[in-house]
């Protein structure tokens, strides 16, 4: 049993969008849509700013509201990996999952189903890293099994301050950001 997750280093990330564009190619993301994206936050008063750059995507939550609200069982958590996926053929496009996701990570694929980041499950099954983690020039995106004690993800989180997004939503996100 594994619980796949990401630890993304906001200090290393420069917001270059490599993750986004490699995802387009890897997953044939439909024109106009993104499965991952960059958020840049700057606060403070000139010239004393704090800034944070994040590569965001589906958080593959432990308590995924998108899965709970799905009336058709199309959204599901994959056994053994914890990855949140969609059975495209079961989806009616009711959009309840989109409304339920506090991260707005989902969208309607024009082919007629709810779509989002899959942690590149097709690559991971072949023993490869997700496309974004593979290409990230700054190695800001780290992917692995969060349930594996002593893994590189744990080491990264042990050494640094860490946060996840919107923890108050109670979703138990599996994408962490190093601060």
């Amino acid at each position: 049993m594994a619980r796949y997750g990401m630890v993304i280093d906001t200090h290393r990330c420069v917001g270059c969008h490599s993750c986004v564009i490699s995802c387009f190619m890897e997953n044939s993301v439909p024109e106009g849509y993104k499965r991952d994206w960059i958020v840049e936050v700057v606060s403070g008063e000139f010239p004393n700013f704090r800034s944070e750059i994040r590569s965001e995507r589906c958080n593959h939550c432990d308590n995924p509201p998108c899965v709970f609200v799905c009336p058709c069982g199309a959204s599901y958590v994959e056994e053994g990996t914890g990855t949140v996926l969609v059975h495209n053929e079961k989806c009616t496009g009711c959009k309840a999952c989109i409304a339920a996701c506090p991260y707005d990570a989902r969208f309607i694929n024009p082919a007629g189903f709810a779509d989002k980041c899959t942690f590149c499950d097709h690559r991971v099954k072949d023993g490869l890293l997700p496309g974004c983690a593979t290409t990230c020039p700054t190695k800001a995106i780290n992917f692995g099994d969060l349930d594996q004690p002593g893994s590189h993800l744990h080491k990264l989180m042990h050494d640094r301050s860490v946060k996840s997004l919107k923890p108050s939503a109670g979703t138990g996100p599996n994408v962490y950001y190093l601060l």
Binding site: D9, H11, R12, C13, V14, G15, C16, H17, S18, V20, I21, S22, F24, M25, E26, E31, G32, K34, E40, V42, G44, E45, F46, P47, N48, F49, R50, S51, E52, I53, V124, D126, G127, L128, L129, G131, A133, T134, T135, C136, P137, T138, K139, A140, F143, G144, D145, Q148, S151, H152
Partner: protein, 732 residues
């Protein structure tokens, strides 16, 4: 400086014996997932073909995944020293160029007046016969040197060879006088060597990185940014000097929001503190430099207090950062920048940067500037090029004694009739550079083109310049062609192959073929002593014990690392007049220029005007990529950054559109406004390369900063065109 093997000797020793060292592609990482499939993996009908990128000029190794004759993905080559298995956003979106529906598909010959952008489709034979005829005509009527080549990118290699064989040495790339030329001259005057591309900056090992106007992260040279991230993780101190709070500034320990055009003053103040407080590397300065005494005298007057009034940077901040440099030396890197043509005294600013590095002892030291590996991969013997009939054409209107490379702007100037020239340019061959965007004063470039007898443009896309051509050659993209070998000089030297991963689309042809075909028509066959490119490449590779088939499979051959620093055996040798690092430049003194950089004022924007600054977005390589449909899914337009208070004064709303007007009354297209605290109130900023007007390009969004650059300050030393001297206001 242990056992001083002579550097040149060492290179000769190290270069070749290493052909057996295999490439370690990736292996499994600790949790069992690998970043890359085995290169030979051919499951699911996907072929993986190595090559190298051309979305910018860094030349990263790429693995193209091809299925059913279509490129489905590009990934970083794990064994290539410039990509390390990773690609920048542009590299990832490279297929957007090849599959751009706007591509030039067939050779064209002008059907109406020049510049009216009306063409008829012709065959390659028609087009090449026509070009050859004109080349002969120009050579016979005037001189081969009156036929100029403007080029950018690796595809130009064989075209350059052809033009030289034809007898012209009027060959220029805008990447010199419009980009990094002053840096190379400034460093060469100081250390006797250039910074080169990729930069020899040892960012990964630095303890302190100082960026002056360099926006790494927005400027996405792959390896450089990889190392930048490593430096941050390693806890290197970061100083960012920029009127705009860039991405890099967001990561800085100290952000210095300098008043534009005052960088030299800051650099001199830093030297002032470092010398006054004895923070410089004494042993290094004593051993390797000349002119320290003159420098001491020179920087005396640049106290942090005085420089505060010039730059707006508080004295305590100047002192604090200078002390940190002294503390971290010699692993301190005052980054030389890349696009440095700002104010016309850019060689002097680059000199100031070089001198500061010298004081800190960072040149040739770990964490400073390393010595890139060398590798000789000789080209096949060809007859010597004909001797030029004239002195350099680009310097005839005005001479710049230290312009080592040809000035693109100088060639443009030499196209106008002028009494003092003995060779007015009569024809241009423009390969892969949209001069209307890449040279300042676009109006002047367009006028120059009207004086030409003949203009050939080779490009992938119907850029603005294409509309002016007499003959248009549709170029195959980097994914569809062979080019010459890339002999790379980074920490390790390497040889990389560009090979076609798909057949050229439409009726496009690779430039090596164009050059060879033209050579045939010009009776220059002896310069192309090979039947086809594969034979050429195989022969050339044989000189280093490699076969083309090896490189077709592996994409790159990396040779062993040579010493990088003085401390691991590089013999300190400086190819300057004095053989030492010249803090005081004898060359500049001899030519009547300031031997030590002096701060000069560059004028203030008039009331209601703001200095126009420009830079880059990470997903674009200026105008070359702004039509790329893949990249445009992320950023398809630029915006003008306006300080919040300025925006309030002008009632400009965030997200609204505004037209900019410069000091000469030239107006931009409407451009989206980004109201932000993150820029000073005396300047505005936009990303360069948007605002295309060419009628056959799909993406015309955004504004073109080049249109607003109607003035520039020419660097008196090397002819660079300082373009950050234009001021704009808002049309409301």
């Amino acid at each position: 400086m242990t056992n001083g093997i002579n550097r040149r000797q060492f290179i000769r020793l190290a270069g070749f014996g290493a052909a057996g060292a295999g490439l370690a592609y990736s292996g499994l990482n600790p949790w069992g997932l690998s970043a890359h499939a085995d290169l030979t993996h051919t499951g699911s009908g996907v072929r993986e073909i190595p090559t190298f990128c051309e979305l910018c000029f860094w030349k990263c190794g790429v693995i193209a995944k091809v299925k059913d004759g279509r490129i489905i993905k590009l990934e970083g080559h794990p064994g290539h020293p410039l990509s390390n298995g990773r690609l920048c956003p542009r590299g990832n979106g490279g297929t957007g160029l090849t599959y751009d529906k706007d591509r030039l598909r067939q050779p064209l010959i002008r059907a109406k007046k020049r510049g009216e952008d009306v063409f008829r489709e012709v065959t390659w034979d028609d087009a090449l016969d026509h070009i050859a005829e004109k080349m002969i005509y120009i050579r016979d009527e005037w001189s081969a040197d009156c036929f100029a080549l403007f080029n950018h990118g690796y595809g130009a290699t064989f075209i350059k060879h052809l033009i030289k064989a034809y007898g012209s040495h009027s060959i220029a790339a805008p990447s010199y006088a419009q980009c990094r030329g002053p840096r190379e001259v400034g460093f060469d005057l100081t250390f006797g060597e250039e910074v080169l591309s990729p930069e020899r900056t040892d960012i990964v090992n630095t303890r302190m990185l100082v960026l002056i106007g360099s926006h790494l992260g927005e400027n996405m040279h792959n390896t450089q940014v990889q190392e930048f991230a490593d430096a941050i993780s390693n806890g290197a101190k970061l100083v960012v000097v920029d009127p705009r709070h860039s991405v890099a500034a967001g990561k800085a320990d100290w952000y210095l929001p300098i008043k534009p055009a005052t960088d030299i003053a800051l650099l001199l103040a830093w030297m002032n503190v470092i010398i006054n407080e004895d923070l410089y590397d004494k042993e290094y300065v004593d051993k390797y430099t000349v002119g320290f005494e003159q420098l001491v005298q020179h920087v005396k007057s640049y106290s942090p207090e005085k420089v505060w009034t010039i730059t707006g940077i508080k004295p305590e901040l100047i002192r604090r950062t200078a002390r940190e440099m002294g503390h971290q030396k010699p692993a301190v890197l005052i980054h030389p920048g890349r696009h440095v043509t700002w104010y016309g005294d850019d060689t002097q600013r680059s000199r100031a940067i070089a001198i500061l590095n010298a004081l800190l002892g960072s040149w040739g030291r770990k964490g400073g500037f390393f010595y890139p590996g060398e590798l000789d991969v000789p080209k096949p013997e060809t007859p010597p090029y004909p001797k030029p009939s004239f002195d350099r054409v680009d310097l005839q209107i005005k001479n710049y004694p230290l312009a080592y490379n040809t000035l693109a702007s100088g060639l443009c100037d030499a196209t106008f009739p002028a009494p003092q020239t003995n060779c007015q340019l009569k024809a241009w061959f423009v390969y892969g550079t949209n001069l209307v965007h890449s040279l300042p004063k676009p109006q002047q470039t367009m006028e120059a083109m009207q004086h030409l007898k003949f203009l050939v443009v080779s490009d992938v896309l119907p850029m603005e310049i294409v509309g002016w051509a007499d003959v248009v050659l549709p170029d195959a993209t980097y994914l569809e062609r062979y080019d010459d070998l890339h002999v790379g000089r980074f920490r390790e030297p390497f040889v990389a192959l560009r090979q076609p991963v798909i057949e050229p689309m439409y009726d496009t042809r690779p430039p090596w073929w164009v050059a060879k075909e033209l050579a045939k028509r010009l009776n220059l066959d002896s310069y192309f002593p090979w039947d086809n490119i594969e034979q050429y490449l195989d022969n050339r590779l044989a000189t280093v014990g490699l076969k083309l088939s090896d490189l077709k499979r592996d994409g790159v051959k990396v040779f062993p690392r040579q010493p990088l620093y003085f401390e691991d055996g590089i013999q300190p040798e400086f190819f300057t007049n004095s053989g030492k690092i010249e803090l005081y430049s004898s060359s500049l003194a001899a030519h009547g220029y300031d031997p030590i950089p002096v701060y000069t004022e560059h004028g203030e924007p008039p009331q209601g005007y703001y200095r126009l600054l420009f830079g880059r977005a990470p997903v674009h390589t200026f105008g070359r990529t702004t039509n790329n449909p893949v990249l445009n899914r992320v950023i398809d337009s630029n915006e003008v950054w306006v300080n919040r208070r300025v925006a309030e004064e002008w009632s400009l709303e965030n997200g609204g559109d505004v037209i900019l007007k410069n000091q000469d009354g030239v107006e931009s297209s409407p451009v989206r406004i980004k109201v932000t605290e993150r820029i000073r109130s005396d300047c505005v900023y936009m990303v360069h390369g948007f605002g295309h007007k060419a009628k056959r390009l799909t993406n015309k969004k955004g504004a073109n900063d080049s249109d607003l650059i109607t003035r520039y300050n020419t660097d008196p030393i090397m002819g660079g065109t300082g373009m950050n001297v234009n001021f704009v206001t808002f049309v409301t």
